[in-house]
Symmetry: C2
Subunit: 203 residues, 2 copies
DNA sequence: ACCGTAGGTGACACCCAGTGCCACCGGCAA
DNA sequence: TTGCCGGTGGCACTGGGTGTCACCTACGGT
């Protein structure tokens, strides 16, 4: 029991330190640009050494991405818990909406993160690596539900295109201050799931 | 006239040097892995200096990506030349198929490139930056044809999801030695354009 | 034939991200 | 007190990428 408590405390302290570093990094990156800020400057701002920065954040990009792993795990859990009678596409849809249902207090920092990720080339590049994890999880879910291999066309395609829809929704939300993230996700998924109905309207 | 000829010759020689460097890089990366090979080794293999490598290829990743800019330009041209009475999605579909219609002689090198790009994390990351250019071109086309802003939902979504379909087709083609790249593209696009009909078959 | 120029090249110095290693310091248990 | 252990900082090193300078070569003009 004592061990558990101590472990939790240590983990919390570690989280807190990491959060402090990330906040310092986000502020500096936002103010001066991702490439223009060196790790030394971030470390100085966070009151730690350069070496400690890397121990906590791994890479410069990870300082912006933060605990994205947790998102993937949560998404995986939601997909696993999806009702079996729900259409596959609907379950992916719902999981994406739910995993991106942020508390209002978290939205400003999310905006800050996403603006950097979608603006800075180095971070945009890094996103592909993160997305690959998401795609694997979604493709595995689709494969399980449809009884085909995870690396077959449909599971892969559903994974990549739904994720494309989600990122598009993020871009829209970021560019347009009025639209809700949930609304943007719904619009994008509805459009995708129906085969782009709004393109057929004029013709 | 003389100037034009000289310029062309110089450009050709430059292309040739670049092609030689790229081939040396591809071979080394394929044999030993992207990260395990240093620029010095590539430069040595190509018979040039480290500095000259960067002058010709820009970055390590660009040595693998090669003349991708040309692809984007060609895609843009095809979209611009698409028949006005053709459905928008069909024009994007056709352009993607056409721009990826490689000569049989080019297929081995394409396989080599794509295997690296889809396998090596650093190259996968870089792909997002290249894809962004493609997406911009496609989104602009869709926006022009539908009369909405290029950064609106539908143009962006069409761009990202069709590109997702194309990359999925590439993955399939790479993993399965029997399927044609064109066939894979057709399958992916048909599935996407119809709103994933094969998911609806069982239900 | 001579000279000036421009482009390609190589060598060098530098910046910065990322890693391995070691030494230190704090707390905690025996 | 002693020994251990996790976090930390310092240091050195690798490797990608860039700026700068000197050189050399090929070409055009005189």
């Amino acid at each position: 029991m004592g061990i558990v408590t101590e472990t939790m405390v240590a983990a919390d302290a570690r989280e807190e330190t990491r959060a402090r570093i990330e906040q310092a990094a986000l502020d500096l990156f936002t103010a001066q640009g991702f490439e223009a800020v060196t790790i030394d400057e971030v470390a100085d701002a966070a009151g730690i050494s350069r070496r400690t920065f890397f121990r906590h954040c791994g890479t410069k990009a990870d300082a912006v991405w933060g605990q994205f792993d947790g998102h993937v795990v949560r998404l995986e859990g939601m997909l696993a818990a999806a009702a079996a009678d729900q259409p596959v596409l609907a379950s992916v849809y719902a999981a994406y909406v739910e995993v991106n249902d942020y508390a209002p207090a978290d939205l400003p920092m999310l905006r800050q993160r996403m603006r950097l990720i979608l603006t800075e080339p180095a971070l945009l590049a890094h996103s592909q690596v993160r997305y690959a994890d998401v795609d694997r999880v979604v493709a595995a879910h689709v494969a399980r539900r449809t009884g085909v291999a995870p690396d077959a066309l449909v599971p892969r395609l559903v994974a990549t295109s739904t994720r494309a829809a989600a990122t598009t929704a993020f871009e829209l939300w970021l560019a347009d201050g009025r639209i809700t993230l949930g609304t943007a996700l719904h619009q994008a998924f509805d459009e995708l799931a129906a085969g782009f109905p709004s393109l057929r309207l004029p013709g």
